[in-house]
């Protein structure tokens, strides 16, 4: 129930895995699902497009395992509180997966330990810091040229966001 999702690279961000039985869409932007629940026999995961709604073609997605209590919360809470608990001001640290997509197709994913108690601003700041480090580590490895090129472009976008105030 508490395991991080392992997305398949190349898949659409809202359909990251073949084992998903059903996708419950909670929100969309320009017709693209941006928030929802991925339901599979063993576990349910919340997915959320955290950054990258309008500019560029990169977007950053989060996949977080949710328990039954959190699933009930998603069904019953005020719309403005959907992420409170599973992601914002979480009561406990949890392993989530961060995915990065170009044109909504995932090309990078890493597991991340989301600290407990993060508010929106802290989560964004920590997320960008984590991604920058993950990109640097990836670029130090022997990547195929095509993958290196897209990871390098994405790292520059994330660095620019961090430098220009998005990561503070």
């Amino acid at each position: 129930m508490d395991e991080a999702l392992l997305p398949v690279l190349g898949n659409l961000a809202w359909a990251p895995h073949a084992a998903i039985e059903r996708v419950e869409i909670l929100d969309r932007f320009n017709g693209v699902p941006t928030l929802g629940v991925l339901k599979s026999p063993d576990a349910n995961h919340l997915f959320w497009r955290a950054l990258g709604y309008v500019p560029e073609r990169f977007s950053i997605w989060i996949y977080a395992p949710i328990d039954e209590h959190e699933a009930d919360h998603l069904d019953d809470c005020d719309p403005s509180d959907l992420l409170r608990g599973p992601l914002f001001e979480a009561r406990r640290e949890r392993y989530i997966t961060v995915g990065v997509a170009e044109n909504n197709r995932l090309f990078f994913e890493r597991e991340w330990s989301l600290p407990a108690g993060c508010d929106q601003r802290t989560l964004r700041k920590e997320l960008l810091r984590f991604l920058l480090e993950a990109f640097v580590m990836a670029l130090e490895q022997d990547l195929p040229p095509g993958r290196r090129e897209v990871v390098d472009r994405a790292s520059r976008v994330v660095r620019e966001l961090t430098m220009s105030g998005c990561g503070s």
């Binding site: 929100d27 932007f29 017709g31 709604y53 309008v54 069904d75 019953d76 909504n104 998005c166």
Partner: protein, 135 residues
């Protein structure tokens, strides 16, 4: 079912609508055309005049530092033959879908450059759309 879900309603022509945008360094600002190759099928707007921060919360669930907004009315979009439909989601009860004009029944026109310019022209440069703020 919870969270104050309300059924869709017919949006009056005089209703102000807000489009969410983002202006990071080198960013595009606002979308004026669909990207079908990425799965986009409609243009999302918000019922009423809301601030950039409110629009950011409704769309992204987070206050985004580069959030922006621009305004139009349902009537202005309809005058250009765009179809404007209230399509509430669980996360955004004020969600509005804008579809391209139909060139035949169930056959939407392509959202090409000319349509993008037409869509852009529906929005005001001013900070007021001239309609009701009924969000």
């Amino acid at each position: 079912m919870g969270g104050g879900r309300k059924p869709p309603y017919e949006i009056p022509n005089e209703s102000t609508l807000t489009q969410y945008g983002e202006r990071p360094p080198g960013g595009e600002g606002f979308r004026s055309a669909l990207r079908p190759e990425t799965g986009e099928t409609e243009m999302s707007l918000i019922i009423g005049e809301v601030s950039a921060e409110q629009a950011s919360l409704l769309v992204t669930k987070m206050v985004q530092p580069f959030a922006d907004r621009r305004l139009t009315t349902a009537g202005r979009l309809r005058e250009c033959d765009f179809r404007v439909v209230h399509s509430p989601t669980r996360g955004n009860p004020l969600h509005v879908s804008v579809f391209p004009p139909e060139i035949a029944p169930d056959e939407p026109a392509e959202w090409d450059r000319a349509m993008a310019e037409l869509f852009d022209q529906c929005f005001t440069d001013e900070d007021k759309a001239g309609g009701d703020s009924d969000g």
